[in-house]
C-alpha cells in the first residue's frame, strides 16, 4: 500500500483520478532511466584515474556501538508555512487554513523588524505594516500585567503569566519560564519584552484555566519561523492551543485584544484590517501593541 503524497491545506486532490493512474503506468520508464544512470555512472567511474590515498595506520575507527560525540541528533525540519517570494521589501504574507474545524488566519512576516509600542497606535502611519495588541492591561489601575520592557526601559515587573516574548536585536524569542534572563537582556540591549498566557511550550499544549470563547490570537514560533495566528471564529483557550499544536507550532503565547483593531499589510501594499475599528470605550494609556516595520 503506497503512501499518498503530502497535501497542503490550500490544495485539493481528486482521489483515484487518471493522473494517479498515469503516474503508476510510467513507473517502468523510471526503472529504465535508473538502470541507465547506474551503468553510465560505473563507466565514468572506471574511466577516472585512480587517486592513491596515503595509508594512515593506527587511527582508531569508531566501532558500530561506540558513542561518537560528534554525531548529534538533528531536529526535524518543518516545511515552512510561507509560500511567498521575497520582494526585497517588508510585508506580511496572509495565509489561511483550517485545523480541527477552526478556521485560522496566519500572518507571516517577511523582511520585518519587530517592536512593542505603548499607547494609542497611529493608524495613519504607513511604516507600520502590522499592528495588534500584545500585553494585558489591569482593569483596576490600568497598569501593564506582567513584566514589560519597552526599548530597554522596564515599565512593569511581575509574574502573573508564564509565557514571554522577547525582542532583542531583531530576534524574537517565545517561551515559557518563571524567570527569564531575556528580561534583563532586553533592558541591557534596548530590547522589548512582554508576558502573556502560554499556549504551546516545546510543542506541548499548555492548559489555561480561563474559560469562555473569543477570537484568539497568538505569536508563535514554528521551527524558527515567527508567525501570528488568529482564529476567525470564537474559540476556547484549549481548542486554540490544540489547533496551534496540530499546526506544528513549537512555542506560542497569547496576544490580548480579541476583537481589538489591528492590521497587516500584504506584498502589494494593501492594508488588511481586523477587529473592531471603533476606538476603545476606555482609553488605557498603557495599552500595548506588537508592531512590525520594514527592516531598515
Amino acid at each position: 500500500m503506497s503512501k499518498e503524497k503530502d497535501i497542503r491545506d490550500d490544495e485539493i486532490r481528486v482521489i483515484g483520478s487518471d493522473d494517479g493512474q498515469r503516474k503508476k503506468s510510467q513507473g517502468w520508464k523510471w526503472l529504465v532511466l535508473l538502470v541507465a544512470g547506474i551503468v553510465i555512472g560505473i563507466i565514468v567511474w572506471q574511466a577516472l584515474p585512480v587517486k592513491q590515498e596515503p595509508i594512515v595506520e593506527d587511527i582508531a575507527e569508531p566501532g558500530y556501538f561506540d558513542h561518537d560525540s560528534n554525531i548529534q541528533e538533528q531536529p526535524i525540519q518543518k516545511t515552512p508555512l510561507s509560500h511567498a517570494e521575497e520582494t526585497g521589501h517588508g510585508f506580511v504574507e496572509i495565509a489561511d487554513t483550517t485545523i480541527n474545524d477552526i478556521p485560522l488566519q496566519i500572518y507571516i512576516p517577511h523582511q520585518m523588524s519587530f517592536s512593542l509600542y505603548v499607547g494609542a497606535v497611529d493608524r495613519n502611519d504607513p511604516s507600520i505594516l502590522y499592528a495588534a495588541q500584545a500585553a494585558d492591561v489591569r482593569a483596576d489601575n490600568g497598569g501593564i500585567v506582567g513584566a514589560f520592557v519597552l526599548k530597554g526601559e522596564p515599565l512593569a515587573w511581575g509574574l502573573s503569566k508564564k509565557g514571554y516574548c522577547a525582542i532583542i536585536n531583531d530576534t524574537v524569542t517565545i517561551g515559557v519560564a518563571d524567570n527569564s534572563p531575556l528580561f534583563e537582556e532586553a533592558t541591557e540591549k534596548q530590547g522589548y519584552f512582554f508576558r502573556q498566557f502560554p499556549l504551546v511550550d516545546n510543542g506541548q499544549l499548555v492548559e489555561n484555566e480561563l474559560k469562555g470563547k473569543s477570537i484568539r490570537r497568538a505569536i508563535c514560533d514554528r521551527g524558527g519561523e515567527i508567525l501570528i495566528v488568529e482564529t476567525l471564529t470564537t474559540e476556547s483557550f484549549h481548542d486554540f492551543a490544540q489547533a496551534l499544536v496540530d499546526l506544528g507550532i513549537d512555542n506560542a503565547i497569547y496576544m490580548v485584544g480579541s476583537n481589538s483593531y489591528g492590521w497587516a499589510t500584504d506584498a502589494d501594499g494593501v492594508r488588511h484590517p481586523f477587529g473592531n475599528p471603533d476606538p476603545p470605550k476606555k482609553k488605557w494609556k498603557n495599552i500595548s501593541y506588537l508592531l512590525m516595520k520594514e527592516k531598515p
Binding site: 500500500m1 499518498e4 477552526i102
Partner: protein
C-alpha cells in the same frame, strides 16, 4: 460486475461501506471520523492519508467520487451542496435527510469551486 465497497479493517474489527454512503471523512489527530449518509459517525483508527490510500487502492478510478481537501478532509463530491469561499464554508447535503457544514481554507475551496464549475461545462 460486483458492486465495490470500501473495506476498512483492523486487527479487531472491519467496516464495509458502499462509497456513496460516505458523506465525508475528517481528520481527528491520528484518527478519522467517517460521517455516513444515515447521520452516523464512526471513528476510524487510521490517519486520513491511510484512508485516502485505501480508497485509491480499493476503488481505483471509482475513487474519484472522493476529493481530498487539505490535510483534514475527504469529501464525497456527490454531496457538495454549497461553497462559500469568504466564510470558508462547505455544506455537504443530499438536500433531504442530512446537512453537514465543514470548513476548509479559502484557496482549497476556490479550487474546489473551479473544479465543479469546470466539470459542469465538460
Amino acid at each position: 460486475m460486483l458492486k465495490k465497497y470500501l473495506i476498512i479493517s483492523t486487527a479487531t474489527d472491519l467496516v464495509r461501506i458502499a462509497p456513496e454512503r460516505i458523506v465525508f471523512i475528517s481528520s481527528d489527530g491520528n484518527y478519522c471520523n467517517l460521517v455516513q449518509a444515515d447521520n452516523e459517525t464512526r471513528l476510524l483508527t487510521f490517519q486520513l492519508g491511510q484512508i485516502e490510500t485505501m480508497i485509491r487502492d480499493q476503488l481505483g478510478t471509482e475513487g474519484n467520487l472522493f476529493i481530498r481537501i487539505g490535510r483534514g478532509l475527504i469529501i464525497n463530491r456527490n454531496y457538495i451542496y454549497y461553497i462559500n469561499i469568504q466564510s470558508q464554508k462547505l455544506i455537504l447535503s443530499d438536500v433531504a435527510r442530512f446537512t453537514h457544514t465543514v470548513s476548509a481554507s479559502k484557496e482549497a475551496l476556490k479550487q474546489l469551486k473551479d473544479l465543479i464549475e469546470k466539470e459542469a461545462i465538460e
